[in-house]
């Protein structure tokens, strides 16, 4: 993609905006359509686009393979950890009221935010991991031979 100047410039401009939009969808998820899953996919798109236009090597400098694997697990742990916290404080598993016992409806907001953050991290990491797995395979015919 070295000679596609427009693509390279537009990608550089877009990546930041895509990430910003992902965060918007993430944090606005409890008021409007969206949430962790959609935000995670949009966030992953930023990395995948960068990887497609530049190179796998370059995107893996930003988000190395080992980190992706850890993030997959981390998101699940954040989700489950929220539930465990509410269990430890004497509430049912994932009863968000535990996060703000005196004002349970605030607790619900905090809880959904935390859980969605976990979902977002895992979905981002899984999408990127799938992308890495596909592009990481050695091509049967190298680009120059086409």
């Amino acid at each position: 993609m070295r000679h596609h100047l427009i693509l390279r410039v537009v990608t550089k401009l877009l990546v930041g905006m895509i990430m910003l939009f992902a965060l918007y969808v993430q944090f606005h998820g409890d008021y409007s359509p969206g949430g962790g899953f959609q935000a995670g996919v949009i966030m992953a798109v930023a990395f995948i686009l960068y990887g497609l236009v530049f190179s796998v090597g370059q995107v893996q400098q930003v988000l190395p393979v080992w980190l992706v694997h850890k993030l997959v697990a981390l998101g699940v742990l954040i989700y489950a950890g929220t539930g465990v916290y509410s269990m430890l404080t004497g509430y049912a598993f994932l009863d968000y009221a535990a996060l703000s016992p005196h004002h349970p409806s605030h607790g619900q907001h905090w809880g959904i935010l935390l859980v969605e953050a976990g979902v977002g991290i895992t979905v981002t990491a899984v999408m990127v991991a799938i992308h890495y797995a596909f592009v990481g395979r050695a091509p049967l015919i190298s680009d120059e031979e086409w």
Binding site: A73, Y91, A92, F93, A97
Partner: protein
């Protein structure tokens, strides 16, 4: 802000048991990946399995008296919220799955070290824990959609685990792919069925579903939903004509995984079938009784014979065991299709007895594979001489598979024959005995290869490592113990059958 202050009674640890049994391995799985150290992966996995086992023993002790535990996820009461509902049937299945995992994990440690590359070890245990979580979740939940989610968690991780057998034999990859396609079709049918039920009733909670389905006996949507669910679960159970994914998946999976899924995965699916046939739908609803009588029973009988015949002509020890599993699933389905308390007891007790029997045998083959590199009869010749302890356990397992008195396998067949005679179906009793004779033939073929042949000169003559022999003998010991002391297994199975026959309980809004 004090104005919104809300009264709340704190839950104790004991109230959390229904969710803890699933949660412990579920938390351990990402931890194993996050830590990522090979030496820590196994201890974490084992501790998690042990934790689940202890919790499920406590649960079974608690519900044996007929009490039903209900746990409300996130504090949302059913039918809106997800409910974990534990009665004797669930608790018994939870116990089977977690006990098998506890015994197989020490065994897995030795075999994984040889069969998989080092870098995959933490991921292997993480996947194992996820498969384990999924199976426990399916058993624990009282929500039809949640059941589907857990079914997929366990199935997806099982596909990958089977594919890991590709390091030993590349055919594991096609086996896993086959299972992926068939399993996904099964899951899709199941979820379509759930969708139909939801469309007609507007609820997903099983107890609530049962109450509403009973009010709509002639609803076409529900009938279609029932058909989809039975076929979908039938694929996961491997009811005879839907079994095609099973032999290769069991044969080419890593040894520890063969033992684990052979002992648990289809058992949990049989439990789901029972739950839907007896708790969500009732035998007097629509054509449930006809389905059992004219579809499930003939296929169960067909499977008992056809799969046993195929097992006789195998030349691979693992594949022989896999086909025998299909035949044994026939016994469980036969018990279910008799629609009596004794029949259900036979099916449930066979879940347990067959799980320990097949776990023993698959672990034995895994030990053979460790030394001979393959499970073909040709490469197992004379193993009885080079691995006497392991092979002795194979005999115990084989006897239990046939159903010789004094072994666990006898108990389940005895109850099954009783159930058949109760309804004057003497011909079914005869067929059960006749198919056991087929088991004698295929077990004998294995014994002949292992004990009557001379080992080849270039064979690795070391016995199996102690870490494999101990789990193998714990299981083989269990086959004998539960063939003699039947209070626990048969008692729990009878309680579970009574619970299922009594139909669904009321919605438990006051639970935790």
């Amino acid at each position: 802000m004090a104005e919104g202050s809300v009264q709340h009674t704190a839950l104790s640890l004991l109230d959390h048991l229904p969710v803890l049994v699933v949660l412990i391995p579920f938390l351990a799985a990402p931890l194993v990946v996050l830590i990522g150290r090979n030496w820590l992966a196994w201890p974490l996995a084992f501790m998690a399995a042990l934790g689940s086992f202890i919790v499920s023993v406590m649960l079974l002790a608690k519900v044996r008296g007929g009490e039903v535990l209900s746990y409300h996820m996130g504090g949302w009461a059913p039918p809106l919220g997800i409910e974990y509902r534990i009665d004797t049937a669930n608790a018994f299945v939870l116990l089977i799955v977690s006990a098998i995992a506890v015994v197989i994990l020490p065994y897995a440690r030795a075999s994984v070290r040889v069969e998989l590359p080092d870098r995959h070890v933490p991921l292997f245990y993480a996947l194992f824990l996820l498969a384990f979580t999924g199976l426990l979740g399916v058993a624990a939940t009282g929500d039809a959609f949640n059941l589907f989610v857990f079914l997929e968690i366990s199935s997806l991780s099982t596909y990958v685990l089977i594919a890991l057998g590709g390091y030993r034999d590349k055919r594991a990859l096609t086996a896993a792919f086959n299972y992926l396609i068939m399993g996904t079709i099964g899951a899709t049918f199941f979820i379509i069925g759930i969708g139909f039920l939801y469309m007609a009733t507007g609820t997903l909670n099983m107890a609530d579903l049962a109450a509403r389905i009973a009010e709509l006996p002639d609803n076409r949507t529900i009938h279609a939903g029932f058909a989809f669910i039975v076929v979908g679960i039938g694929l996961k159970v491997a009811i005879y004509p839907l079994h095609l994914w099973l032999p290769n998946a069991y044969t080419y999976a890593p040894s520890a995984i063969s033992a684990f899924i052979a002992a648990t995965a289809t058992k949990v699916a049989v439990y789901v079938l029972m739950r839907f046939l007896f708790s969500v739908f009732q035998p007097d609803f629509g054509f449930v009784a006809e389905t059992l009588q004219y579809i499930v029973m003939p296929f169960a009988l067909l499977g008992m014979f056809a799969a046993s015949f195929i097992a006789i002509f195998q030349n691979d020890f693992k594949k022989m065991l896999a086909y025998s599993s299909i035949a044994q699933i026939g016994y469980m389905l036969l018990g279910i299709s008799l629609m009596s308390e004794t029949g259900l007891t036979a099916a449930i007790v066979h879940l347990f007895n067959h799980a320990i029997t097949k776990a023993t045998l698959f672990m034995v083959v895994g030990a053979y594979v460790l030394r001979s590199g393959g499970s073909f009869y040709r490469s197992l010749e004379g193993m009885g001489k080079t691995m006497p302890w392991t092979s002795a356990a194979a005999i115990v397992g084989g006897l239990s598979l046939i159903g010789v008195p004094g072994t666990a396998g006898f108990i389940s067949k005895w109850v099954l024959v009783q159930a058949a005679l109760e309804q004057d179906m003497w011909w079914i009793a005869l067929l059960v005995v006749a198919s056991s004779l087929l088991a004698v033939i295929y077990v004998w073929r294995g014994v002949e290869v292992v004990f009557m042949k001379q080992p080849a000169d270039d064979v690795d003559r070391r016995p199996a490592p102690l870490m494999m022999i101990i789990p193998i003998w714990i299981m083989a010991g269990a086959c004998v113990y539960f063939g003699l002391a039947t209070d626990v297994t048969l008692g729990a199975a009878r309680d579970a059958a009574q619970g299922l026959m009594a139909g669904p309980g009321p919605l438990l809004l006051g639970g935790h």
